[in-house]
Symmetry: C2
Subunit: 338 residues, 2 copies
DNA sequence: GCCTGGACTGGAATCGTTTCCATGTCATCG
DNA sequence: CGATGACATGGAAACGATTCCAGTCCAGGC
């Protein structure tokens, strides 16, 4: 059918083909008022016939808006399930008619700085910076030249709006859920590594809930190692099970830790959830659903954070963004381990 | 320090500040010859002082190159580990000084068509279309208006270059590896669903290897169901183990299937790998490494496909791309299950 | 001393839109 | 019936770069 047009047509081609002025074509294109129906029809017909496609770069040059937002992330693939942040961000941007420029820095700060520079040169309408785990971020001053929102991280001076998971609330709720199920001795195997806010928030949430019910006992808390991938979960679970008054539930601050805890419990011949209940954290789908029994866990609101960030970036009708600091709830995903 | 400049400076501001013509500034910016060192120095100084940043949209309008490539994918998050395709693509684009516009269609064809349209309007230098599982794709004619490369899929008429995993070769090698280890009775639990080339390729590779060694027996093959997430793996493994002459190795055409097979073998009290070896497929990290023993598997070359696609798109110095059909090898990842 | 050609430079034209201003038309109102 | 707006429209200017053309300068060859 419509053969590939070799030479692009411009708004003036449309104008002369339709027998009108260039300004009129532009008015039709942008749905401006004060265009008669007959003229509009002629223009639309010409657009159709010449297979016209407007040039965004020309439009951007004139209006200053690129209809593109930049998305920078430090480690897109190290914790793969977090791609939902991108997915959510892109989906909302799409609803606003905007496209997303993505760059993955692999944690290399020089790349992040250069990426921001490149995005600025391209005149993006805004920038989202997403960390793949909850931490404090460090960004160049130039980030302030354009609206920007942070995901899963925050600036030392809080000068940029940010959205992070409510670590404290989630850990508190997880613990409460276990308590409500009748558990009194609840162990915590915490994270290791550099995700400070997550480590501290989850610990604090757990502690608060335990103390509120007079169940707190420091022996029940095992602090994580740095081995990554939750590998210390095995030894930690073993340690917990050796306690004289051993826990009837374990709250693992990460699904991967839970996977290793499962392994320990299996070896000890302890049944999940009958003898010991296990609560995870992250809703790391591939882990939670290959475990048997399926792991109950607190879900990190990745998708929602991505959505929130873009929504906030774009909904403000141009005026500077308030640097609000938002915490999103982490829903409880009930499966079989509790 | 350097205060945020409120009003952008243009190339003409630089020109007058440096006391030269606009053309000269442009020549400096683009490293053209025939600029004296002293002039160059003056211009560079002015750029520095005015904190000048060139406008890509103006540049694009004049040159026609956007320095951006489009990346469309059908289901970025359904099989999360495949984000490596994006990661690889973006990394190579970065090396070429280009940024990547990403849109996730969620399998919605209307979105894909519109995404291509939007990318064309923005004048992308090329488009990558990536499927998250190996299949035949369907794209609008307009895709031919710009250089394009397909990942993990192909067009019915093969009119676009594509890069896919070598399913046959990988399955063949996997089977050979098991045979070399001394196995004679090797079961195959194949995929279900709509990933035709993967299903057929893996079956053919297995079959060829078995036949070449005179080991082929149709009873050893279990065809997958549609339940998804490899859930049929449990029943399939059970079935295989009930064979009178039961297999000493199982080749699972997907790591998730292997996870379910593990469950069946555990229940039957069959030790992996001593009594039965298990080979996976996909190198679905989170699955393969939470299983115990760790799963040996064939890795899908996601990162490499992403890299190859962009490399091929960008390396051709402008002339139309040959529609080559490339198959990338799937490396064997040795762990503990064989 | 004149001519030639190369190096360097300034400035106009151009890319494809949007926006603003000026003009023309027509119905309405006093 | 002339003045007044509201509406419709054409066309020029502007956005910020690149590129081409023409002009200046200077060294070297005759």
């Amino acid at each position: 059918m419509s053969s590939i047009r070799s030479t692009k047509s411009t708004i003036r081609d449309i104008a002369s083909h339709a027998g009108v002025g260039a300004g009129t074509v532009s008015r039709v294109l942008n749905n401006h008022p004060h265009v008669s129906d007959s003229t509009r029809a002629k223009v639309l017909k010409a657009i159709e016939e010449l297979n016209y496609r407007p040039s965004f770069s020309a439009r951007q040059m004139r209006t200053g808006k690129s209809q593109v937002i930049g998305f920078i992330t430090d480690e897109i693939a190290s914790t793969q399930f977090a791609v939902n942040i991108i997915k959510g961000a892109q989906a909302v941007a799409w609803d606003y008619g905007k496209l997303v420029l993505v760059v993955n820095s692999d944690g290399n700060r020089a790349i992040e700085y250069e990426a921001i520079e490149m995005m600025l040169e391209r005149g993006v309408d805004g920038i989202i910076y997403a960390s793949m785990f909850h931490r404090q971020a460090q960004l160049p001053d130039s980030i302030h030249e354009v609206p920007a929102v942070l995901i899963d991280c925050f600036l030392p001076d809080r000068s940029l709006p940010s959205v992070v998971p409510d670590e404290f609330g989630a850990a508190h709720e997880a613990t409460e859920i276990l308590i409500r199920k009748g558990h009194r001795r609840i162990g915590l195997i915490n994270l290791g590594g550099e995700a400070k806010p997550a480590i501290e928030g989850r610990l604090a949430g757990y502690t608060a809930a335990m103390q509120a019910h007079g169940l707190y006992d420091p022996d029940l808390i095992v602090h994580g190692g740095d081995e990554g991938a939750g590998r210390h979960g095995y030894a930690s679970a073993m340690k917990l099970m050796k306690l004289t008054e051993r826990p009837t539930a374990i709250f693992c601050a990460q699904d991967r830790i839970a996977a290793q805890a499962y392994r320990a419990l299996h070896e000890l011949g302890i049944a999940i959830p009958n003898e010991v209940a296990v609560m995870g954290f992250d809703n790391h789908i591939d882990v939670a659903t290959t475990l048997s029994p399926l792991l109950s866990t607190m879900a990190l609101p990745h998708l929602e954070m991505g959505q929130w960030a873009v929504e906030y970036l774009l909904s403000g009708a141009g005026e500077p963004l308030e640097p609000v600091q938002v915490k999103l709830p982490c829903p409880y995903i009930e499966r079989q381990s509790i």
